[in-house]
């Protein structure tokens, strides 16, 4: 009996080794392709940086640069362009690596599936990344503007804006990955509709107080106006 077990174990070990040996050229091809593209990415990013610095790209971009740096404050337009070039090459490297893996391996189905799904993953990651930046930017903009308008519910507004964008982005990313199917659409619709309905009810029910408070403020405005007129900031 032990001989049978030993034989079966040896057979399965042999199959694993054969499998690894079959996959090894594909993995090596993938790593090699990725390495080559990493070197190319580094080379091209250095070239692009030197070129953009030579043509004074940041200065020439003028007011456009201001808009760009508002969204990504720590980066100059040159460094952003350099990073885009670098990561573009890395992404191409991954795609070429996957196709090299497919060519070298005896399991074309896996790589074919990966190859078709990879753009979805990249797209979803990009969506989520952009959505995150947008949510953070909008939340901060709403918070600062609301504070400067003396709105006491500034934080609530900012948090609401942030989560609306995040929920919308997550639903879009999941949809892009084909995860959850219609459940995500339905859940998002219910959640979004629920938020809007809740806001509408809150505004509708709370507006009585709001209107009365506004009227009270209007009644006491002459005093405040006198106060304001005495202060001149500019």
């Amino acid at each position: 009996m032990w001989e049978h077990i030993e034989q079966a174990l040896q057979d399965s070990m042999g199959r694993v080794t054969t499998k690894i040996a079959t996959l090894l050229p594909g993995i090596l091809a993938f790593i090699l392709a990725l390495l080559i593209f990493l070197i190319l990415a580094w080379l091209f990013s250095v070239l692009v940086r030197a070129l953009l610095k030579a043509v004074k790209f940041d200065e020439r971009l003028g007011s456009g640069a201001n808009t760009l740096t508002e969204w990504s404050p720590a980066s100059t337009p040159t460094s952003l362009a350099t990073r885009i070039v670098f990561w573009g090459f890395v992404a191409i490297g991954v795609l070429v690596g996957v196709s090299a893996f497919e060519a070298a391996s005896a399991e074309p189905a896996v790589s074919a599936y990966m190859f078709t799904y990879l753009p979805h993953i990249v797209g979803a990651a990009l969506l989520f990344f952009v959505g995150n930046i947008l949510a953070r930017f909008l939340s901060r903009s709403v918070l600062i503007t609301a504070v400067n308008l003396n709105l006491h519910y500034a934080r609530l507004l900012a948090t609401g804006a942030k989560w609306l964008v995040l929920i919308l982005t997550t639903a879009m990313a999941l949809d892009h990955l084909s995860i959850g199917g219609q459940i995500v659409d339905l859940a998002f619709g219910i959640l979004f509709g629920g938020i809007v309905l809740a806001l509408a009810l809150a505004v509708g029910l709370g507006s009585r107080d709001l209107v009365s408070r506004s009227l009270e403020r209007e009644a006491s405005r002459p005093m405040e106006t006198q106060q304001e007129e005495r202060l001149h900031h500019f």
């Binding site: 003028g62 740096t69 508002e70 404050p73 903009s141 005495r230 001149h232 900031h233 500019f234």
Partner: protein, 416 residues
């Protein structure tokens, strides 16, 4: 030289005129007949012998373009700037001032006076003090001192003037003037400052700061003109962002130069301040101001913007601000030293782009209102002269804290 674009007709007109002794530049649109009526009389009051003068103004005058140069006083219109109107009135005025200075530079004027388009300066006899010291050749720039009550021009009083004085080393009361006079030596520098600004068209003009960095002589003159800027519909945070943002840009551009400046030099003052009865101070200004709304804005900011302030301010300043929120409005005083360091930290964060610049300048507004509340409590029952002394103390504190800014500028991560 100048990067100001001038139309072909204007250039031809300038070439036909050749050179001139004096240029009067009007920084904004003006009616030519109104200008003619006020400017000719003002110019004739400047010197006993007629000055060869060119008046440059914003507008289009076909007759002025085609008429051959003949008289002692010539009129040259320049076109309105193509700037973005959403940038606000200050930017439009700065662009117009640059156009006037560029034309003066082309005309090789010995002296150039730039005045606001409401022409209020031309109606004031004391405005000759703006021009006379430059004609004498002793000064490169004369900046105005406008009559203001203690509650007027607070952005300038609390931030622009003390920060400019501390960094650029000249005690100029209005570093962002509507009217000023410059010498021929400094004209090209004002049009095309060195080091070059990255966005020349989108920046305000800070004549005294530029002249200070060029080592020029600066004087000041009391004039009795007060100007109103079309600021309807403009939020305080937007205006603060525009004015302070522009000064922060200037600081970033001239970093190599202002780091070498130590202390400050007084700028000689010409003319006499208006007598007590003639100031814009009303009896209401003498009464203390209710600072509760300002204090509330500061409190609201400190409750909600701490996460933004944490990216900009060091822990010591945050702790101090936290302590201030526990005071009652009557007890509330923001120490000048804390305010000076806050301004310096915001200038540094502006340079380092720790957060978006619009956000950064927006987050400064509640802190500024906190300082205004504190200042209003201090000067509530004092005279205008005592309020001036209070502002001088603030400026000296900005100066004494300059080493802090220098150290943070050079080693930004050391404190945080």
């Amino acid at each position: 030289m100048a990067r100001i674009e001038l139309p072909e007709e204007t250039r031809k007109r300038v070439e036909a005129i050749g050179t001139t002794e004096f240029v009067l530049g009007i920084a904004g649109p003006v009616h030519p007949q109104d200008l003619r009526a006020k400017a000719i009389e003002w110019i004739s009051s400047l010197a006993t012998t007629p000055l060869k003068t060119v008046i440059v103004y914003m507008g289009v005058d076909e007759r002025a373009q085609t008429r051959p140069p003949a008289g002692v006083i010539e009129f040259v219109p320049y076109p309105p700037s193509q700037g973005d109107p959403s940038t606000g009135p200050w930017m439009e005025i700065a662009n117009a001032q640059r156009s006037a200075l560029a034309l003066a530079s082309l005309l090789q004027a010995k002296v150039c006076a730039v005045v606001h388009s409401d022409l209020a300066a031309l109606l004031d006899p004391a405005s000759r003090f703006l021009v006379a010291p430059v004609f004498d050749g002793k000064f490169d720039l004369v900046s105005p001192i406008y009559p203001e009550s203690k509650y007027e021009g607070l952005i300038n009083k609390g931030l622009l003037a003390p920060l400019s004085r501390a960094l650029f080393g000249r005690r100029v009361r209005f570093p962002l003037p509507f009217d000023f006079c410059a010498s021929a030596r400094l004209l090209p520098k004002l049009v095309d400052p060195n080091p070059p600004r990255s966005q020349p068209g989108a920046q305000l003009l800070w004549p005294s700061n530029i002249v200070a960095m060029e080592g020029g002589q600066i004087g000041q003159a009391h004039i009795r003109a007060s100007h109103t800027t079309q600021s309807d519909g403009l939020e305080l945070s937007a205006v603060l962002g525009q004015l302070v943002g522009s000064l922060f840009q200037e600081i970033e551009a001239c970093a190599a130069q202002w780091q070498r400046v130590r202390g400050s030099q007084p700028a000689e003052i010409f003319g006499a301040p208006p007598p007590e009865g003639e100031t814009t101070e009303t009896p209401a200004d003498v009464k203390p101001l209710d600072t509760h709304p300002l204090f509330d804005s500061f409190l609201l900011g400190s409750r909600n913007l701490e996460e933004v302030w944490r990216l900009v301010l060091p822990p010591v300043s945050l702790f101090e601000l936290k302590r201030l929120t526990r005071l009652t409005p009557e007890q509330f005083r923001m120490p000048d030293e804390l305010w000076a360091r806050i301004v310096y930290d915001f200038a540094l964060a502006y340079r380092l782009r720790r957060i978006g610049r619009t956000h950064l300048l927006g987050a400064l507004t509640p802190l500024y209102l906190g300082w205004v509340a504190s200042y209003a409590q201090d000067v509530g029952s004092t005279s205008a002269a005592e309020a001036d002394q209070r502002l001088d103390r603030l400026a000296r504190i900005f100066e004494s804290n300059k080493p802090y800014f220098l150290s943070r500028w050079r080693w930004p991560d050391r404190t945080n």
